[in-house]
């Protein structure tokens, strides 16, 4: 018999219930008001007094109205048919909702139960299966998806029966498994999993080491992220967080991309809805939308559901990782998620931590980031979740709780800088403050050397040193004046500008420049390094400025041209000619 409750208090989206039976922390209940059923989650229990956060507007809710508990936590339904879907933060299918405006209490099925899938069994009767074992496969949008034994399954089970290859619905029973006690389970293609619990049915989680190519030079070349890695992008508004995030999600070499639009602008989600069905995945040639799932909980949608949306996204990512796929999860922005936590903590009158955020904000962030990672599954295959979150620091100040706590756990840091954005040096990632810890892993060094060849990381480090040196010299020139420093200083400064303009800066809105494949990135860095390593002969600083501006212009024209095309080769020739005029042999 399900526990029932009655409303005894309402403060915005926090509601107090008096309950008549057992209730679990984080349990889901539905409050009935005026014909609507409002979904809510338990956040605090004090005797028979239960605090719930309602995932909807509480307008017109009255004392004495009834609530019914469901006996389970907030969970998602996982099955084939989720690719290309647009969900809200609670995994309601937004396209199935009627009308232009969202209606309170309108919950839609995230899955299509009528759709037929061609199922191929991967096990036979008598085979042993454990949690998340692959028992069959279906194909969706050219992705080989696995049908798995239930996540969290305990003990030894074996296959009692399995259907033959053929066409089935996700609700059809496709296998029966049995354990030593003779207990039987009928399996269909649907999994359910509570979003706040990490899915850990894999063998081990090694340090990640494989480059995740994004086509963004300032990331791949300078501070690479890896499959199963974690990164974050903090930046004041207007520095290009969203453009950079969209670039990564369009271009990254991942099998599945999940975008959690968490408390951000609706028009940004509309941009994805509009463009992704048209854009082509640079790696497979298929439409980007085919590999994408969007979790849209924009800033005007209910706050509690915003908090849930990142967990919904992560759980869906874990589902695909368990199939041995490479998943990229982007969350924009984790600050909005933290603010949702703050609003609720405030309403519960908890003692506030720094900036009125809840005290446990650091452990909440750490636990969430740790759900990403590269894993070896129980069958020896590998899968990964690469997680990149953006952070919107209040006032652009990186010394605020969300940024600081994220910095402790994320391994890549892409600092977007107001000054660079003001100068239109996009992407405005500061090359000196940003870092990738993966570049220090010997595993990564081995991997990248086998991919591009020896000496790559030396070139990268050399470029970084030149950028730092260039910045120091720019400061000296500002103090001493152009004439107050030796001509050599100008050469060093302009070499760093060359790296900045040609390697770091990239036009996300230019068809060619927007994506740079690794091979081309290697060519660019080698070309720039060659010029930087050369000695030049100049009489005075004006000559230096003039010379390097011409070089930069040629290199930029090259970046705008098709790789190895006639135009491109033409620029290469012009560049060589120009360099030769001043180079000391």
């Amino acid at each position: 018999m399900a526990t029932k409750g009655k409303v005894t208090g309402v403060i915005a989206n926090m509601v107090l219930l008096a309950v008549d039976g057992p209730v679990a922390q984080n349990e889901i209940c539905y409050i009935k008001t005026g014909g609507d059923r409002l979904m809510a989650e338990v956040i605090k229990i004090n005797g028979a007094k239960v605090y719930v956060q309602v995932f909807e507007s509480t307008r017109r809710l009255k004392i004495g109205e009834e609530a019914e508990f469901t006996g389970h936590m907030l969970e998602v339904s996982l099955a084939p048919g989720m690719l290309s879907k647009n969900y809200d933060g609670l995994q309601n299918d937004l396209d199935k909702m009627e009308g232009v405006f969202l209606k309170r209490g309108d919950y839609t099925n995230p899955l299509d139960e009528e759709k037929i899938w061609h199922f191929q069994p991967l096990v036979k009767v008598g085979d042993k299966v454990g949690a998340a074992a692959w028992i069959g496969s279906v194909e969706e949008n050219h992705q080989p998806l696995k049908i798995m034994a239930p996540f969290g399954l305990k003990g030894e089970w074996s296959v009692k029966s399995i259907v033959a290859e053929g066409d089935y619905r996700i609700t059809d029973t496709i296998a029966v498994i049995v354990n030593a006690e003779g207990e039987e389970k009928q399996l269909n293609m649907i999994q359910k999993w509570p979003v706040r619990v990490a899915m850990e049915d894999y063998r081990e989680k090694p340090r990640p080491f494989k480059l995740l190519e994004t086509g963004v030079r300032t990331i791949d070349t300078m501070n690479p992220i890896v499959e199963g890695g974690t990164g974050f992008i903090p930046g004041p508004f207007g520095t290009g967080k969203t453009v950079l995030q969209h670039a990564i999600s369009k271009q990254a070499e991942a099998d599945i991309v999940i975008i959690a639009a968490c408390g951000e602008r609706a028009n940004e989600v509309v941009e994805i809805f509009t463009e992704f069905p048209e854009l082509v995945d640079p790696h497979t040639g298929r439409k980007l939308m085919e590999r994408t799932i969007i979790i849209a909980n924009t800033s005007n949608m209910p706050v509690a559901a915003r908090e849930a949306s990142v967990y919904t996204a992560m759980t869906i990512a874990e589902y695909y990782r368990a199939m041995g796929l490479r998943v990229l999860l982007m969350a924009d922005s984790t600050s909005r998620w933290a603010q949702a936590l703050r609003e609720m903590s405030n309403r519960m009158e908890e003692l506030p931590g720094p900036d009125a955020f809840p005290m446990d904000i650091s452990s909440i962030i750490a636990n969430f980031y740790s759900r990403a990672g590269y894993v070896y599954l129980n069958n020896g295959e590998a899968g990964s979740i690469t997680f990149i979150g953006t952070v919107s620091p209040a006032g652009g100040n990186l010394k605020e709780p969300v940024t600081e706590n994220t910095k402790k756990v994320a391994r890549c840091f892409y600092a977007l800088e107001q000054e660079r954005a003001d100068k239109k040096r996009y992407p405005a990632v500061n090359p000196i403050d940003s870092y990738s810890k993966y570049i220090e892993y010997p595993e990564f060094d081995n991997y990248i050397s086998s991919l591009i060849g020896e000496g790559w990381l030396e070139m990268v480090n050399e470029a970084k040193t030149r950028l730092l040196r260039g910045k120091e010299i720019a400061e000296q020139i500002n103090i001493l004046g152009d004439d107050g420093v030796p001509v050599d200083y100008h050469v060093t400064f302009w070499k760093s500008e060359l790296i900045d303009f040609v390697v770091l800066q990239q036009d996300a809105f230019d068809d060619i420049d927007a994506v740079t494949p690794l091979e081309r990135q290697q060519a660019i860095l080698s070309m720039v390094t060659d010029i930087c390593r050369s000695e030049f002969d100049f009489e005075e600083f004006l000559e230096v400025t003039d010379f390097f501006k011409k070089i930069i212009n040629l290199c930029k024209q090259m970046n705008y041209s098709e790789y190895k095309s006639e135009t491109y080769n033409n620029y290469v020739a012009q560049l060589q000619e120009l360099v030769a005029t001043k180079k000391i042999a």
Binding site: T8, G9, V10, I11, T58, R59, R60, L61, K62, I63, N86, L94, D95, G99, V100, F101, L102, K103, P236, F237, G238, T242, G263, R265, A266, N267, V270, E271, F273, A296, T298, S299, N300, V303, S333, Q339, R342, E343, N346, P352, D355, A356, S392, G395, G396, D422, K424, N478, G481, D482, D483, G484, F509, L542, T545, K549, K550, K556, Q557, Y560
Partner: protein, 439 residues
């Protein structure tokens, strides 16, 4: 509002603060309206049988035996075509002496648009001001504020934009507006003969502060009527959103909430987002565009109000007085329209994006040269050319008194490029240089 016969009247208030009062009552819904001795109030908290009401015009003079009547509904506005050309207060009651509006009564602050039912904005709003059209192009369905110090002419620029933009309705939501500015707008709208497409919801500094909280929802409810029911292009002007946020902080303070940054409530981001996200392009052709004003204190954009606003809106426009030309300009560095790439080079000429970026980059070089000059260093010939360029660029394009179409703006900029620079200094794609460089 008249009391109806069947409504229960409560006459025992337990506690009163400056903005709220509490009493014992049953059968009350959250967010519901009530009157306290005739003053309008709204339910903000229910705990058992104790109901807390926020009294919009303040609790001054309310006795403990005041008559409290619950109205059984959230704040509403009557919507119909009769709204056009009228002036209202924060409750949606006419203040222009005209008759009451007849129409459908709808709750303000209604539900959000399903994101999958939105259309990507793609229609340019031309204002003639190059600082906006060239560098920070506006698009229907966009939301963008002016970030300005109180002494800057933001209301005038906003009024200019509103009058020049091709829209079906202009809805002005005034919050804490001085009476002088209110009269300015009223005069401007009447004289331009545009009164039939104007609707005003006005809370001046003479009205109670908390009443302001209703203004944006009133204005946007009217906007949704015209955009959804009539498929019209609606432009909503909200000035000044900082005054709105101040009213929020007053209420949250009275409710004993823990303040976050700058004494603002922790929910400031969500509160502002609920308003700004009403900006939308509907597939049916109707749209709501929001241009707002956020006043700053000494240009400080790290304050919680401009900071949270910047994360919500699709860009921001900064005004600045340029001492070199003695005019107010739209600051090209700090201003940004996030939706400009949806129209720049697509609805405008294809050289637009690159020309825009190159000009701003050269303007930045001029700023560096200026710093050098101020520090007493020698300028290179290039530095001097950028300074001359910057002055003319500022005067001919950035100043707010400019009125050109986008083709003219681009041509003027190409003219300045060729006057002061050689092609390799502007870093523009070769094919565009070949087409547009003025020989």
């Amino acid at each position: 509002m008249a009391t109806e016969a069947f409504q229960k009247i409560y006459t025992k208030i337990n506690s009163i603060t400056k903005a709220t009062c509490s009493l014992k009552a049953t059968g009350v819904g959250y967010d519901e309206l009530a009157t306290v001795n005739g003053k309008l109030a709204q339910v903000v908290k229910i705990m058992g049988d104790e109901v807390t009401l926020q009294v919009f015009e303040g609790t001054g003079g309310i006795p403990t035996n005041a008559e409290v009547v619950f109205l059984g509904k959230a704040p509403t506005l009557k919507v119909s075509d009769q709204l056009a050309g009228r002036f209202f207060n924060a409750y949606g009651d006419p203040i222009d002496g005209g008759p009451a509006i007849e129409g459908t009564e709808v709750e303000i602050g209604g539900p959000s648009v399903n994101p999958v039912r939105r259309k990507q904005p793609s229609e340019l709003i031309a204002t003639g001001i190059a600082g906006i059209d060239l560098n920070n192009t506006l698009v229907t369905g966009q939301k963008i504020p002016f970030f300005a110090d109180p002494d800057q002419p933001y209301n005038q620029v906003m009024a200019n934009v509103a009058m020049r933009a091709e829209t079906d309705k202009i809805i002005l939501g005034g919050m804490g507006m001085t009476n002088d500015d209110y009269l300015y707008f009223k005069h401007l709208f009447s004289n331009a003969g545009a009164l039939d497409r104007i609707i005003c919801f006005m809370n001046t500094t003479e009205d109670p502060a908390v009443e302001r909280l209703l203004i944006p929802d009133m204005a946007l409810t009217a906007a949704e009527y015209f955009a959804v029911e009539k498929n019209q292009k609606v432009l909503v002007l909200l000035t000044d959103m900082t005054m709105y946020a101040d009213a929020l902080s007053i209420v949250s303070n009275r409710m004993d909430q823990i303040p976050s940054k700058d004494s603002m409530p922790g929910s400031l981001y969500s509160d502002l987002a609920k308003i700004y996200e009403k900006a939308v392009q509907f597939p049916s052709g109707g749209s709501i565009t929001i241009i707002a004003v956020t006043t700053l204190s000494g240009g400080d954009i790290t304050h919680a109000v401009p900071d949270n606003t910047g994360y919500i809106t699709e860009g921001q426009l900064f005004l600045r007085r340029d001492s070199d030309i003695g005019k107010v300009i739209v600051d090209p560095f700090r201003s940004l329209s996030r939706l400009k790439q949806l129209v720049a080079g697509k609805k405008t000429r294809k050289d637009h994006p690159q020309v825009m970026n190159a000009a701003v980059r050269l303007y930045a070089d001029a700023a560096n040269a200026k710093t050098k000059l101020e520090n007493g260093f020698d300028l290179t010939p290039y530095d001097r050319r950028t300074l001359d360029f910057a002055k003319e660029y500022s005067d001919k394009l950035l100043a707010i008194d400019v009125n050109l179409n986008t083709i003219e703006m681009l041509d003027v900029t190409w003219g300045l490029f060729s006057k002061y620079f050689v092609p390799e200094e502007v870093n523009i794609r070769q094919e565009l240089i070949e087409t547009y460089w003025k020989k």
